[in-house]
Amino acid sequence: MRRNRLLSFAIGLVALQVLVALLAPWLGFQDPFRQVMVQRIKPPNALNLLGTDQLGRDVLARIVYGYRTSLMTCTASVALALVLGGSIGMIAAYTRGWFDRIVMRLMDVLFAFPILLLAIGVIAIIGPNLWSAALAIAVVYTPIFARLLRGPALVICESEYVLGAKAVGASDARIILTHILPNLVSVILVQTSLLLSAAILVEASLSFLGLGAQPPVPSLGLMLSEGRNFLLLAPWPAIFSGLAILFLSFGFNLLGDALRDTLDPRMRSVAGVRA
């Protein structure tokens, strides 16, 4: 009962943020790109509930649209990593042998890089912008998904119904898609949610270092990065965007955590993943 309530809370928190981001254009927020020079770095007031930034843009509107940016890139990158890494992990577990050994060692090579460093390298190659940050995150998370899913997939591959399916001559693709994948859904749900939470922080770190979203794109990390230059005079863009990053990442992490409890209480000891 209590678990369900926590789960409902987590879902509510995430859904609220996602909905606001999705529906932003219809919710009557100001234009996040409009510069009003006479309204530069104003503290929160009736017109601009969270104040304005250094170009006189509404901080609230930029945060809401920043949610869109963050969610869009992070969802895309985690989805890509899930498809790539998940396939690698499952196929490696299913085929074993040399494929498993070589591919997983390659994953180890990627995994050996500190997350941020690998992402910085990828971005340096393709040039800093929002989508290269997304691609960088995908590259970084591919080995993580591969490693996370290979373990449970191994257990399932040894199970009697998979062995049975093999015995009756089911095709490999069919076994992976209809027998292995469905059994991994709970792991995938939990890990995707936790990694989304982490991806939001990584995206923010990259934008903070000037390697993610570029002006004038509204992005939470970029707002924080630009806002920190005005910390003494106008701390609100930096503080509010930092809080927004925290809430978003927090929501997904709580969701993953609650899902883990609900779906599989034994998974508790898996270490949280973070940049």
Binding site: Q54, L55, P128, L211, P215, R228, N229, L231
Partner: protein
């Protein structure tokens, strides 16, 4: 450990002050890549060495006038082709050796040598003969009169003669004649200089100058306010605005020689037409850009800085500096270029440049010029700039005290930094006149015409000269700001305990 003892340790840890006597702590954003005065171009590298560790034959004062440096006087021949410098006696290098004409000659040869590949070489390119007359007399012969020579020499550091053949040593271990000598360098940490006992005007009062490398603007600001640092040299307008009125902080300001600009590639079919370039100038509202990106701390820029009082024309002389969207549209229509004009604008990775780009993007859109902003990392930016791989770019340039030093390489057909591929016969003529005539009136006339021409239809829309602001903490007295950003006044400054 008990809780109390831990608390006591924590308290004593916090209360211990690390301040040592008479150390001036300066925070800058990036570490220099090297300290060889003949190789470095980065502002922060020059800031550390020029006037502190090294000196030139001449010097440029805060009013941008040429003053004696290591040469106490000089004679110029009638035809302007021979310069004879009389050097100061009793000057020693930090290593203890004596400075004489041999060192001066070797230093100039070192800059000119292709092996050194010094970016300063072009500043003394007309010098064809370097002759040591006696230990304190140096004679330079030119192949053509070259008016900017004296101000150029201020930027060429005098190094010991044996460095002429040693291309590596000075990068890590500078050795000059300045008031401070190099002491210590922790990469990414700090560079420390200490007062030089043998300095010719007496040992400076400040014992040690430390340049700390602090990448975060917020950290530098808070550090200055909290007393951790005593000076932030050449802060950006946003920082200046924030430090204004903070307790104990004084802002020293002067007009900057450096300027922000929007460059235009004249090989672009639209920008090839001078009318379109003039339309760009008419669409840009410089006052609004200055208010927005520079927080009002600056003035609209013509091709020359108003700090060059003898040369610069007021911007009111440039017709295209009054924003006029209709006139701009009419000019574009006249040119026959179809709207919308789509351009890629690459942006220097600096906050003021990024803000200028965002504002300019909106202003240009009003005239049907659609600009896509490409924010690049510095390495990429330099590459794009160098390969002329841009429609437009937003950047910042350091200025020079003589018009020739900037104009010639930038606007002459095939000039070394003419990345715009700009070529105009009249401009080339005027540039030659300005360079080869030593008569002030003739030079002035040429540069006046050039400024008017370049301001509206040149390949650069000059945006703004910002105020050069240096923020100083309460302990430092006697610092005088220099429009070229130099810290040479530190030799006479005093530091409270």
């Amino acid at each position: 450990m008990t809780k109390h003892r831990f608390a006591a340790l924590l308290a004593s840890t916090f209360l211990a002050s690390a301040a040592t006597a008479a150390t001036l702590d300066i925070a800058v954003d990036t570490a220099p890549a090297g300290l060889d005065p003949h190789l470095i171009t980065a502002f922060n590298s020059v800031l550390i060495v020029q006037g502190n560790i090294y000196q030139g034959l001449t010097d440029i004062d805060p009013g941008l006038a040429v003053q004696p440096g290591l040469a106490t006087s000089w004679d110029i021949s009638e035809d302007g082709l021979t310069y004879t410098f009389h050097l100061a006696s009793g000057v020693t290098f930090h290593d203890g050796s004596t400075f004489d004409a041999e060192d001066a000659a070797a230093s100039l040869r070192r800059v000119q040598s292709p092996e050194t590949a010094s970016p300063l070489a072009s500043r003394i390119s007309p010098v064809v003969g370097i002759e040591v007359v006696d230990p304190l007399t140096l004679k330079l012969t030119l192949d053509a009169p070259f008016a900017p020579l004296l101000s150029s020499l201020a930027g060429i550091a005098m190094v010991p003669a044996e460095m002429e053949t040693d291309k590596e040593a000075l990068q890590m271990a500078p050795d000059g004649t300045g008031p401070f000598k190099f002491a210590d360098w922790t990469p990414n940490g700090y560079i420390a200089l200490e007062a030089f006992d043998g300095y010719r005007d007496g040992k400076p009062q400040i014992d040690e100058v430390k340049f700390h490398f602090v990448p975060e603007a917020a950290t530098r600001q808070i550090g200055l306010v909290s007393g951790e640092y005593d000076m932030l040299p050449a802060v950006d307008p946003a920082t200046a605005l924030q430090l204004q009125g903070q307790p104990g902080v004084t802002l020293e300001q002067t007009r900057d020689l450096a300027y922000t600009l929007i460059g235009m590639n004249v090989t672009d079919p639209a920008l090839a037409d001078p009318k379109v370039r003039e339309a760009v100038n008419l669409l840009l509202n410089r006052d609004e850009i200055i208010a927005g990106a520079l927080f009002g701390a600056g003035v609209p820029a013509g091709p020359l800085s108003p700090a060059l009082t003898e040369w610069a024309l007021p911007t009111s002389d440039f017709s295209c500096y009054t924003p006029d969207v209709d006139k701009a549209k009419a000019l574009i229509a006249e040119s026959g270029v179809a709207l919308p004009i789509k351009l890629r604008m690459v942006v220097l990775p600096r906050q003021d440049a990024k803000d200028i780009a965002q504002i300019a993007q909106q202003q240009l859109a009003a005239g049907g010029i659609e600009v896509e902003l490409i924010n690049q990392e510095i390495g990429d930016f330099v590459q794009s700039w160098k390969n002329s791989d841009f429609g437009m770019f937003v950047s910042a340039n350091g200025g020079n005290p003589d018009p020739d030093q900037y104009f010639y390489r930038t606007f002459y057909t095939g000039g070394s930094t003419n990345v715009f591929k700009y070529s105009d016969a009249r401009v080339d003529d005027l540039l030659d006149t300005g360079r080869n005539k030593t008569d002030m009136a003739e030079r002035k006339a040429a540069y006046d015409e050039l400024q008017v021409k370049l301001a509206c239809e040149g390949p650069i829309a000059h945006i703004a000269y910002a105020n050069l602001t240096t923020a100083v903490g309460p302990k430092l007295h006697g610092f005088v700001i220099h429009p070229m950003g130099r810290l040479s006044s530190l030799k006479d400054a005093v530091l409270d305990d």
